[in-house]
């Protein structure tokens, strides 16, 4: 059963002005419950615009978004309810922090949803744990945290609303490689425990390869591919044409194959490559 479905979704900025710009053009997809969807594309290809339509932050110029088969704009007055079901973490979410303490800031969304008392407290703790924020940070001012910690606090604030669909718009942008790895594995872990649906926007092929069940590729407002990472990354030339590159390790392994080494196709992560090479060497009796 698909949890989110879009039908001929389009969005144009500045209709009727000289700055008119179609950011999403006739996009139809269907996403199943519990899937992790990677969304990739060049800067300006319309990724952020697309995901903002999923929770009704912007209203499509045409087409519709179905959540559990119901158009989210059927009852415009109740659009807020949609936002608790489809949680959205913006690009650079650290700029949305405003409360006196991290604890209060994480609780903001949950309070808006109607939580209070022990339930609220438990939710805040749980979300902080999921994002790897330690207890003692909760009483600090959010403005005293480091960049990475702020990012975690902001993500925790959305997770605290316990959304069925979690949308993350470039959550790892601007983090150091260590912080990126850590955040990614925490997102994966959260997904495995909560079994929710995740949209993961990124322009890092490596990140997408690690987390996604299926990959959407956008180019100039259009959806050009929607398939498993293996199948998508096999289309090296097409990706190259729209300015995207397959993960570095995939390129290395493809290069080695072309040199005559018999590695299997579609290797996406360093771990897979490592196993493959060790396997190979063992079989050849070299180690």
């Amino acid at each position: 059963m698909s949890i989110i479905e879009t039908k001929n979704l389009s969005f144009t900025y500045g209709v009727g002005t000289p700055f008119e710009k179609t950011a999403v053009d006739d996009l139809s997809v269907s996403v199943n419950e519990g899937e992790v969807i990677g969304l990739i594309g060049h800067t300006g290809s319309g990724k952020s615009t697309f995901v903002q339509m999923l929770n009704g932050l912007i209203k499509p110029t045409s087409g519709e978004v179905l959540l559990d088969g119901i158009n989210i704009w059927d009852k415009p007055k109740e659009i807020r309810k949609i936002r608790f079901r489809v949680g959205m973490v913006f690009q650079y979410p650290e700029y949305q922090l405003f409360e006196e303490t991290v604890r209060k800031d994480i609780a903001f969304g949950a309070i808006n949803k109607g939580l209070s008392g022990d339930e609220l407290e438990a939710t805040v703790r749980k979300s902080a744990r999921f994002t790897g924020l330690s207890e003692d940070l909760l009483e600090k001012s959010p403005f005293d945290l480091s960049g990475g910690e702020k990012r975690r606090a902001a993500i925790a604030g959305v997770i605290a609303m316990d959304p069925d669909v979690l949308v993350l718009d470039e959550p790892t942008a601007g983090l150091d490689p260590m912080g990126r790895d850590l955040l990614l594995s925490q997102i994966i872990q959260y997904h495995q425990e909560r079994k929710n649906t995740v949209f993961f926007v990124s322009h890092s092929m490596e990140d997408i390869a690690r987390v996604a069940d299926r990959v959407m590729v956008m180019n100039r407002a259009k959806l050009v591919m929607f398939d498993t990472p293996r199948n998508v990354f096999a289309r090296v030339d097409e990706l190259h044409e729209i300015g995207l590159r397959v993960p570095q390790i995939t390129r290395i392994m493809t290069g080695l194959r072309e040199k005559g080494h018999r590695f299997s196709e579609g290797i996406l992560t360093v771990e897979q490559a490592f196993d493959e090479i060790v396997d190979r060497l063992k079989r050849e009796g070299k180690i």
């Binding site: 903002q52 700029y95 949305q96 959305v158």
Partner: protein
């Protein structure tokens, strides 16, 4: 969305009005404001109106945008012209209860509304066709003589440039922060005025924090480039008067002559 407001925004283009020297444009704007208020007969008013219309048609900016800028002041125009309509002196041509309308009142109403509309159109034309940096640059040049009175002209112009530069940035930022808080279920539409003001805290605090951060970063960046105010500064883009600027000045002179003649040879109605 907040950004849709046509707030004196610059519309890039390459028409003759765009290419005219911004200093000339500012002076012409002042001249035209004087013209508009010094037209006392219908003929003079007709001449200024036609002159403004020609500039607007030449300006390479769609008429829709001019209409949009008029939309904001339409209420003001209506109210002032109604007031003028009822407060004329002389013999009433129409009477109903305590309301009486005189010919002088009608003339006043027409003059006042046409003047306001022309003012808005001609000043919109300046902001539509001149980029904010050109505008402040020109203001700095025009105010240069004030240095005699120890007024820090360069610093004032710099502050204006920076302020104008950050208006769109802050609007964009407001938009983003509002979306982010709405995504966390913030309710900004419903409730009374107190509730609405309270609902703005999650937007205002991050906005102020980021405005200060930007100011700090900008100051740092300027210091790193050894910025030290106007003393001995040269310019990358110097302004030069060209042929089209002379055309502008001649145009204004012709309009002026027309208005003066119109005022002399036709009865002043206001």
């Amino acid at each position: 969305m907040i950004r849709d407001v046509a707030l004196g925004q610059y519309i890039p283009g390459n028409g003759i009005v765009h290419r005219t020297d911004p200093r000339v444009k500012i002076l012409l704007l002042i001249a035209f404001i004087v013209f508009i208020f010094c037209s006392f007969s219908f003929v003079s008013l007709g001449i200024v109106t036609a002159a403004v219309a020609v500039i607007i048609l030449l300006s390479d900016v769609s008429l829709k945008l001019y209409l949009k800028s008029l939309k904001v002041i339409i209420v003001i125009v209506l109210i002032t012209s109604l007031l003028n309509l009822f407060y004329g002196t002389g013999d009433p041509i129409f009477k109903w209860g305590f309301i009486s309308v005189t010919m002088a009142g009608v003339y006043r109403a027409i003059f006042v509304s046409v003047r306001i509309i022309l003012l808005i159109l001609i000043s919109s034309c300046l902001t539509f066709t001149t980029s904010p940096t050109d505008l402040t640059d020109a203001i700095e040049r025009l105010m240069k003589p004030l240095k005699v009175f120890h007024i820090k002209v360069h610093e004032i112009a710099m502050m204006m440039t920076i302020a104008l530069r950050f208006v769109p940035t802050l609007l964009e930022e407001t938009d983003k922060i509002m979306s982010a808080q709405k995504a966390r279920g913030a309710d900004m539409e419903s409730g009374g005025i107190i509730k609405k003001i309270k609902a703005m805290t999650p937007v205002l605090i991050p906005l102020f924090v980021s405005a200060f951060r930007r100011a700090y970063e900008l100051a740092m960046a300027m210091e790193c480039r050894c910025y030290h105010g106007g003393q001995g500064r040269t310019r990358m883009k110097t302004l030069h008067m060209k042929g089209s600027d002379c055309v502008g000045i001649i145009y204004a002179a012709v309009v002026l002559a027309g208005i003066v003649l119109g005022n002399i040879f036709f009865t002043a109605v206001i």
